[in-house]
Structure formats: structure tokens, C-alpha cells
């Protein structure tokens, strides 16, 4: 057992991987070169189009013990990962690891294949039932949760070798040129798949919209694609929107959004050139709406919006409030529609978005990001992975990446969720270190991290309700009562990897 700099106990090894304990957000230096893969040659007349998925898997050379990847731009509407795993099982392959960019509740269909030994581990975080069952010890399947930037990093450094990437390609030609903009399964940006296309040892484009060559605009070019295969349906884009992507109408949420907007206003960052990221949750969008009003009123011309893009950001682009959107993932169909026609709505790879080990990720240029939290501790550490019942239920997404990059990282969260106090002495799991978090905004007050002393004084001067984080914690517990801690066994079922590849926390099996 080892302990990282946040005091979290970690195993020394996890299923063959040596655990490097987390130290701090900025100082781990990469060594060595980019990962490589075999060269290939395609002569004129050589065909890439294969008859079906089974033939593509056979042609790819996938064998038992190898690793596959898909992207999650269709989110809970994705049909491809389930389809691929069924075919892998039909071919009799076993002990396959999944290194997709994320896994959603729809992929609970994989559970029988995990039990059967077809799937033996996840090199990525999971949303939903798989994580819960792993937490209960009902599934034997190690999970390493990665941030979006961290996943790109792990492929680029070669820490994770993807043997075959199956890329859902909503528009694709028979030579492998593709984009995500058009077709019945259009998902917009293919940002997460870019790294797979460049680093997987074999790249299979899977499409339900085989179009005349060449497909343009080219997001991922033919020169990176080994095989092309048709399927009936990649998925259902209407299910991209898996959670609420409407501005909240809950008065608690709206109060939080007003406070958050006051923090942004007080920060001095809201001026020409302002860059901004929010998630797609109801409170985040309410903050975006407030920022939009402030920018319109003061005639501020922002530089860019970033991350997962919603229709609200599309509106702000079209109103001239931002010059550009950098889009790693479209969060709704309005964003999908925009990226296909607006040159200033730029597709961006996960590497460019958030990888800490390149010559500078987009998150480094962010002024402000609005993020959520399941729990926050009095040192400002944030948990988004496990729920208060101890189950691993959520992937990290770009949370830690954007927090590390932005000048001002604001966590918006209600002080209570049902009976659960959100601010705790310690969080169940650390996802994002407190050093990269600047402000916590709740409906009952705002806590400012010590390294933002100037901002704190400015907020107090403006009579915004600044509170000590310990005070907020006590107020929450006065209302809810002191909860019994969740009990865990010693068995580690998942690791939470920080964006630089160090381990920030371990998830243990819950004692039932």
C-alpha cells in the first residue's frame, strides 16, 4: 500500500499496472516519444470495404487478450460497442479490454459478456450499472477511470495500446474518409476518435451512411483508416441528449447560477477575449445564460467557447459573443447541425482539447469553466465519480482537465441533494484536486479557495455572500444530520487516474 499527496491509500499494483501516486497537478514530466504503430501500404485498386462486421474483426487481426476502442459521441444512443462485442463473442474471442472514450448506461448490455469472460477490463470510466455492479463485487472487471485529456495521453504515450479502433462514422466513403456531421446517425464532432485513428494499430470505420467518395469535409482522412464496413444503424442521435440540457427552473439552481455569474463578474476576466466552458447540466446552462446577458449588455466580444458544445453556445457564437467554438463533442442536435455548416464552429480532438502532455492544450487558454460535483471536501477536492452510496457511477469527462487549465474554475452545486450534504470533511473519491478549484458556489453561499485571496476580497467588497467552507459544511450537516460513513472492504475495484497518468484515488468494493 502507498499513499499519494492527498493522503489517499493506493495499491502498489493494479492488474499488472504499476501505480504512480498523484503528486501535484502540474509537475509530472513525460519521458520518451510518441507511441508508434506498424506502417502499412495500400496500392491502387486495393479494397478496404468489407462485407460485414465479422469480416472486419477477422481482417483486423483481433485476438483474445487484445484491446478495442470506440468513441462515445452518440452517448446513450450508441449501438456500435454492443454490436462489436456480440460479434467478438461469436468469433470465440475472450479476455478483451475496452478502452473506449466512455461507456454509457446503454452498454449494460455488455454485462453478460463480462460474466462470460469476453470482456475482462475497462481502460476507461463507465457510466451506470457496470460500475455499480463492480462496486458491489458482482462483476469481476477492473476499471481505470481516465479524464478525456488523460485518455488521449494514455494512447499517445503508449500506456494504453488500442489494437483495433472501431470508429462510428456517420458519413463515410469506401476508402475511409469520414465526418460526423451528416447522415441518419450524425453526432457532430468526432473529437474523441481522432486519437484512436492516429494511434490504434488497426482502424475500422463503421458506417450506416456509405457515401460516394470522397466524403467531405474530411474529419478523419482515408490515410488513417484500414477497413470500412457497413451496418444497419450506428445508433440513435436523439439519445445524445441523455440528461437535461435545459436551463434549470429550480429556484435553488437559479440562485446558484446568479451567484456564479457574480463571481465571474468580480473576477475581472469578463472582458474582450473572454473564453468559457460549461457542461450541459441545468445549472451550468443557467450560468451561461447569465454570462450571455452580461456580455450583450457590456458589448463584450469573447474569443472562444470550449469543450462539449450545446445549442446555447451555438446561439452565443451566432450572436457574435464568441468568435469560435472548439468542439470535442456535441451535446445536442443544435450543436450537431451547427458544426456541419459554420466554419467558426471548429471540431477539436481530445488531444488538442485537454492532453497535458502535448505542446499546449486548449484548456490552458480557458478563462473560466463551470463544473459540477457529487461531493466536495473542505480542501476543495471534488468527487464526480462515486455517489455517496460508494458506487462508481460516473465517468470523469473533462472535469479535471478543464479545472487544471482554466484561470477560474467554479464548482456549482446545491448544498444538499435530498438528504445528502454535498460538502464533506472528506469526499468518498477524489476526482479533481482542490488545488485546481477556485470557487465553490452553493445556494447558501460561496467558498473561495485560499489561493484566490484577491477575488475573495473583491467578492466581499461587492457584498456577495462569501462563507468559510467549514461553515458551509456545518450548515449542511445541521440540516441533514450527521450521516453514517459508507463502509468499504480493502478490495480495490477501480483506479481514478489523474490527467497526467498518476493515480489520484482508488475505488474499493462496498461492504453490503
Amino acid at each position: 500500500m502507498v499513499t499519494n499527496s492527498l493522503g489517499r491509500p493506493l495499491p502498489e499494483h493494479f492488474f499488472g499496472k504499476t501505480v504512480h501516486p498523484y503528486q501535484d497537478p502540474y509537475n509530472r514530466k513525460p519521458v520518451g516519444n510518441h507511441a508508434t504503430r506498424p506502417l502499412r501500404r495500400h496500392n491502387p485498386g486495393d479494397k478496404k470495404l468489407l462485407g460485414n462486421l465479422r469480416k472486419a474483426i477477422e481482417a483486423s487481426g483481433l485476438r483474445s487478450g487484445m484491446c478495442i476502442a470506440t468513441h462515445h459521441h452518440l452517448r446513450n444512443g450508441d449501438a456500435l460497442l454492443n454490436l462489436v462485442v456480440r460479434e467478438i463473442d461469436n468469433l470465440g474471442l475472450r479476455d478483451i479490454r475496452i478502452a473506449s472514450s466512455s461507456v454509457h448506461p446503454v452498454h449494460a448490455e455488455l454485462i453478460p459478456f463480462i460474466k462470460k469472460g469476453v470482456i475482462s477490463g475497462f481502460e476507461c470510466g463507465v457510466n451506470g450499472l457496470i460500475g455499480e455492479m463492480v462496486s458491489r463485487g458482482e462483476l469481476d472487471c477492473p476499471i481505470i477511470v481516465r479524464t478525456h485529456g488523460g485518455r488521449a495521453r494514455s494512447l499517445i504515450t503508449g500506456e494504453v495500446v488500442v489494437d483495433v479502433a472501431f470508429i462510428a462514422a456517420p458519413s463515410c466513403d469506401c476508402y475511409g474518409n469520414m465526418n460526423g456531421f451528416f447522415g441518419p446517425s450524425a453526432c457532430g464532432s468526432l473529437g474523441y476518435a481522432f486519437t484512436d485513428a492516429q494511434y490504434a494499430r488497426c482502424v475500422v470505420a463503421v458506417t450506416d451512411n456509405l457515401s460516394a467518395a470522397p466524403v467531405t469535409p474530411v474529419s478523419i482522412p482515408q490515410s488513417l483508416v484500414d477497413y470500412v464496413v457497413e451496418v444497419n444503424r450506428l445508433g440513435d442521435p436523439r439519445k445524445i441528449v441523455s440528461t437535461t440540457t435545459q436551463i434549470t427552473r429550480d429556484p435553488v439552481g437559479l440562485q446558484i447560477a446568479r451567484y456564479a455569474a457574480q463571481v465571474i463578474d468580480a473576477s475581472g476576466l469578463l472582458r474582450d477575449g473572454f473564453s468559457f466552458q460549461t457542461g450541459a447540466g441545468g445549472i451550468s446552462l443557467a450560468v451561461a445564460e447569465q454570462v450571455r446577458r452580461m456580455m450583450s449588455q457590456a458589448q463584450i466580444k469573447g474569443s472562444f467557447g470550449c469543450g462539449g458544445i450545446t445549442g446555447y453556445f451555438v446561439d452565443m457564437l451566432e450572436e457574435g459573443l464568441f468568435r469560435t467554438l472548439f468542439d470535442v463533442q456535441c451535446f445536442d442536435l443544435k450543436a450537431v447541425e451547427s458544426i456541419g455548416r459554420n466554419l467558426h464552429h471548429q471540431e477539436m480532438s481530445a488531444d488538442t482539447y485537454a492532453n497535458p502532455f502535448n505542446a499546449g492544450a486548449m484548456v490552458n487558454l480557458l478563462d473560466c469553466v463551470i463544473l459540477g460535483a457529487t461531493e466536495i471536501d473542505v480542501d476543495f477536492n471534488v468527487n464526480v465519480n462515486t455517489e455517496s452510496n460508494g458506487y462508481l457511477l460516473h465517468n470523469t469527462g473533462g472535469h479535471s482537465d478543464a479545472a487544471a487549465g482554466a484561470k477560474l474554475s467554479i464548482i456549482t452545486a446545491p448544498l444538499l441533494r435530498g438528504r445528502l450534504p454535498i460538502i464533506r470533511d472528506t469526499v468518498t473519491t477524489v476526482t479533481t484536486p482542490g488545488r485546481t478549484i477556485d470557487v465553490i458556489v452553493t445556494e447558501r453561499g460561496i467558498a473561495v479557495n485560499n489561493h484566490q485571496q484577491e477575488l475573495k476580497e473583491e467578492l466581499i467588497r461587492r457584498k456577495v455572500p462569501v462563507r468559510d467552507i467549514h461553515e458551509l459544511r456545518e450548515e449542511a450537516c445541521r440540516i441533514t444530520g450527521e450521516p453514517h460513513p459508507i463502509e468499504f472492504t480493502d478490495e480495490v475495484v477501480a483506479l481514478i487516474e489523474y490527467r497526467d497518468g498518476t493515480i489520484i484515488d482508488a475505488v474499493r468494493k462496498v461492504k453490503e
Partner: protein, 92 residues
């Protein structure tokens, strides 16, 4: 007071609870909750104090909680008791 008929109170919404009551020879309090691991002890304490205040010594009381705070637990249980007990004046 005495529980003489079946009754219920509350909703299944988040932050609320349902209370189900029925007559029985002995007193039994069953608690199910989305936050059972963290808060069963406090839910039980609150429910028991209400039952004591109403001098309930028999009946089955089932609480299906969705993360309600103490005051909501007291209010829902009181309403349920008024509906289930003999000296209730208004019908439910």
C-alpha cells in the same frame, strides 16, 4: 391513539417519503430509503419520536424514503397516523 385502518401519506418524489400504516397486534417500524446506509438511524429516531408522541403501541408502519429531511418525515408520519387512527375526525 391506535391504528385501526390502513392508510398512507406522502409521495415518491425525491426529497419526500411515503408512509404506509396498517393495524397489527405488535408495533413494527420498517424503513427503506435511498440513503438507508447513511441515515437509517436518524430516520428511525425521528419516526420513533413521532410514534411516541402519538402514543402508538401497535401497528405496522412502513416508510419508503427518498431522502427526506426530518421535518418532512414528521409531517408525513403525522398525516398518516391521523388517517389511520380511531379518533380521526375528517375522512381521508
Amino acid at each position: 391513539m391506535e391504528i385501526v385502518r390502513k392508510a398512507q401519506a406522502g409521495t415518491m418524489q425525491s426529497s419526500d417519503l411515503m408512509v404506509f400504516l396498517e393495524p397489527a397486534p405488535q408495533l413494527r417500524l420498517e424503513i427503506d430509503s435511498t440513503v438507508k446506509k447513511q441515515f437509517e438511524h436518524l430516520i428511525r429516531k425521528q419516526a420513533e419520536s413521532v410514534l411516541q408522541r402519538f402514543s402508538i403501541t401497535s401497528g405496522v408502519i412502513r416508510i419508503s424514503d427518498r431522502g427526506a429531511l426530518d421535518y418532512a418525515i414528521a409531517a408525513r408520519l403525522e398525516t398518516g397516523l391521523l388517517r389511520a387512527c380511531a379518533d380521526q375526525r375528517t375522512s381521508s
